[in-house]
Symmetry: C2
Subunit: 334 residues, 2 copies
Amino acid sequence: VTVADLTERELIARVVGRLPAPPEWVVVGIGDDAAVVEPARNQLDVFTVDASVEGVHFDRRLSPPDAIGHRALAVNLSDLAATGAAPRVALLSLALPADLPTDDLDGIVDGLTTLARRSGIQIVGGNITRSSGPIVIDVTAVGSVKRRSILRRSGARAGDAVYLTGTIGGARAGLQCLQDLGTTTLDLSSCIERYRFPQARMRVGHLLGRNRAASACMDLSDGLADGLRQVSEASGVGMTIEMEALPIETAARAWFERAGVDPVTEALAGGDDYELLFTVRPSHRGRLRAVELHGGVPLTRIGVCTPEPGVRLSRGGVVSPMDETLPREFRHFR
Amino acid sequence: VTVADLTERELIARVVGRLPAPPEWVVVGIGDDAAVVEPARNQLDVFTVDASVEGVHFDRRLSPPDAIGHRALAVNLSDLAATGAAPRVALLSLALPADLPTDDLDGIVDGLTTLARRSGIQIVGGNITRSSGPIVIDVTAVGSVKRRSILRRSGARAGDAVYLTGTIGGARAGLQCLQDLGTTTLDLSSCIERYRFPQARMRVGHLLGRNRAASACMDLSDGLADGLRQVSEASGVGMTIEMEALPIETAARAWFERAGVDPVTEALAGGDDYELLFTVRPSHRGRLRAVELHGGVPLTRIGVCTPEPGVRLSRGGVVSPMDETLPREFRHFR
């Protein structure tokens, strides 16, 4: 059975049947022309939209349906986290090829709704349509944030320390392992899980905003090199990053070394880790303590902001501009 | 030059360069991980998302780029209108084939932003990605509405009058004319314009909500027959609709008659008119006066809600169930 066997209304009913009942603050839910929702008291609305396109962001041969659905929401939760926002509601727009098995549709929706339930975001509306092309999943996520807690990319100043949550390189190693037709004796299961089911750093982002611990923040959807460039440009500062300090995932490092490629370069270039990159004023270091205690993920200091513009990498005592250090194919992303 | 010649960042810059500067209540606009917006005071948030997929909702050979962009936003504005909401912000997600000329992208964005400016909705975020498939334009629109002004599909009661804004059948005739390879001596330009540049009934919807004039409301994206069925089912009433009262667009009626098809059937089945279908309590008829004066579009009474379930069509004094009257191919839509 494929989606071609069902009417649009039957498809909608199939998705809606897999959603939990809406809470009281959803005044009008799915089934009307639009959803009506009470805004969070004394907070601002936060909006983000991100697309997951088959063949660009995922491959049906490498990711099971629930991972595809999980990822489509996770990338949006990560954007909310980077703003310091708490998740509130989401809208889901699906463009589906006629030959998509309904079992796969169910799996995609289950992956998405499982993460929605776990992260406390309510799906209040959506759209389903056929397409002659690949699966396109557009998720719009809405969050709420107090004005004083908003995190932006643009607040870093010279002297601020640069931090990363968690580890990097894992998603890239996991994807490479899935794409690799040969076999490996290395255990890449943590990296594969990481690639398939990215975890947005919701709690850290929320705490960083609430404690006003971070001067700037963004999420690493397109890799660390891209993130460093974006935050430094938006803030009008430079950065010097210590390559030896990078928290590269252990299994990923082993994978890259076995493949004969430089783990640091791979970790800088690799996207899909969805960690947070943030900066902290020297006088606000104490505010990080609560984030370290309750954020649920380690924080690593990887460098410092400088008055001189540009991102520089320090490695074995040698400092060089990032753009000259990275191989050409890694300098411009997507 | 096609979109394949530009990086994602250049594509974003190209779109952002065509947007007006954001107002003060947009606290964080395009360029950060998410947009931050002040909610409208003492109002509820209204959310809707709708997709425009090439080959399903539009054909590049029949609609110029600015019409494609216009339509992608208009269908969402129409959903806001049907809820009684005032437009506030929108997010735009584009999946683009590599061979799309950048001139066409500019045209799509211009059509969309022209309508955005005219309707007072602010584009605060979005996403651009490549796709191996057709153009997919997902627009999420956010509006605001007072709790007492919310319009739903479910409020109609037996005895309520059934109304339509404007005229129907025009978009269908316009599309048929564009698809027709032959020539016609009829002037279908108004219908073609109607198909290409649908006008959401924002003002009427807002007034119907504010005056509490309508007991139920929805927009006719999928045609009048579908709308009648939806409102009657959601409200738990039946309806008797007067076929002679239907406000069929004059040029469309001539087109259908020339083609030897029944104008009433075509007007019932034809989608894309984006008029509002609404019901009014007998005691609230006076509240329609302000809507008639300031809504900018004629209102036509087309029937009445009944205690007996089901939609019935009255024609020449003969009343019969709609599902038996409509040809089979018109009974289930999309």
